[in-house]
Subunit: 241 residues, 2 copies
DNA sequence: CATGCCAACATTGTATACATTATCGGTAGG
DNA sequence: CCTACCGATAATGTATACAATGTTGGCATG
């Protein structure tokens, strides 16, 4: 009995230290765990189909199962993991059809974001987007995938943020997270940098001309084309992902 | 101690077989709670801005806080409730701007759903939609709001389901849940049955002519018009909702 | 050797205990 | 009268205990 109490005290003290660490960051353990697992999935440290148990996660992060379970519920709602009652969960593995569905939606929504953003984009914004475009060209020439990813994200994110529709923005981000790892893998496999740069150039050009319809259409085509590259990649590597 | 444990295990395994039959009908408490709170919000038994505490919920449903908390995480992810750390949660109260954002998205997505569904809609589907349309006309004439809501839901749901895009469908449903109560309240306040019937007729007509662009456009306009009615209603009753 | 059964174990589902934080009313000091 | 502070209370955040369910591997049986 005494030892039990002793053990408990030790555990409690350990946990307190972790709690304090997260308190300093003003973040709950649950929120922290949520973000870590989410990023592990989007950045491919956890692969599609991989099975996760609450025990393993609570051991890995040295916290109890309570915050873990709550974080998992969030991730499930966002379509990143799949639950089966009394059996556990796994990282969502998207079928070709699902990938196409999601990219169809992304094309629609990102295109619409461009349309909305046109009302608020000024010459200054065009200048900034052009500088991003140049960085992308540079990244393509030097085959710097990290730089590409980063600036590509900024390019797309710019229209998203300028759309002025917070709900639209959130949806696009959610869809992006669900496919990010697939996109990343396919990019490492076979990059279509030149094609993408042409697309971006077309979008930019349409923005300069203030041609809303063309800008929206260009973005839609661009996203759909990206999807094609990913579908090709997944089709060829279906066994492992 | 060992024997006790042994006996317990035996009984547990034996008992399991007798329960097997009813297992399929079982639902986890969490899932049950989730659905009940969700419906309480969408059907207005819980009003926007209303504050909920875990203790009250666990008392109401006579369960512990664990499944409650997990259900609340799901509801939060879906935008139905809002959490503030260490302070608790409340039913989301949408601003006029948010309502417009969400309806903008619904218009975009439901319009797109009509576009997608056109590939798969046959004469038989048109016949069914026409019968729904007639029921709506009847409900309008008799001012039967319940019948209107039910058949209107079927009308819109038909295109959604026929779109063949499961992700699109889920998004529309989610957006609908977030605004359902507002829509419902505004309908009780001032109904635009005649206008909506004209819209539906236009959509049906476009379907019959297989005019995809017109059908999509008609649905978009219809949804945006609905939004206008709701915004008017909310603007006038801002104090209470 | 194949197969069905079942105890042991592993995992998820729920309840409870404990820890931390917010809220609110009252009181002392200005 | 106002404000700042304190403490009681109630809420959320986390850890742990207990219960129900799924899985596995060994053993008996044919």
């Amino acid at each position: 009995m005494t030892t039990e109490r002793y053990d408990y005290m030790v555990e409690s003290n350990l946990c307190r230290r972790f709690k304090m660490a997260s308190l300093l960051l003003d973040k709950s353990i649950r929120q922290d765990i949520y973000e870590r697992i989410r990023d592990d999935i989007t950045y491919g440290r956890l692969m599609p189909g991989e099975r996760l148990t609450e025990k393993k996660l609570s051991d890995d992060y040295t916290v109890s199962r309570s915050p873990i379970r709550e974080a998992l519920r969030q991730l499930e709602s966002e379509g990143l993991i799949r639950y089966e009652r009394n059996k556990g969960m796994e990282v969502v593995k998207l079928s070709i059809k699902q990938l196409q569905e999601i990219y169809d939606l992304r094309a629609l929504l990102e295109g619409y974001a461009v349309r909305c953003s046109m009302k608020q984009i000024t010459g200054k914004d065009i200048t900034f987007l052009t500088s991003l475009h140049k960085k992308l060209i540079n990244a393509a020439q030097t085959k710097d995938i990290q730089a590409w990813l980063q600036n590509n994200s900024l390019f797309h994110g710019y229209f998203r943020d300028k759309s002025g529709n917070e709900n639209l923005s959130q949806m696009i981000v959610m869809l992006k997270r669900r496919t990010f790892n697939y996109q990343n893998m396919s990019l490492s496999y076979a990059s279509y940098f030149e094609t993408y740069i042409e697309h971006h150039a077309a979008i930019l050009e349409a923005c300069k001309k203030r041609d809303v319809d063309l800008a929206e259409q260009s973005m839609r085509q661009h996203v759909l084309m990206t999807n094609q590259a990913i579908v090709n990649f997944v089709s060829m590597n279906r066994s492992s992902i």
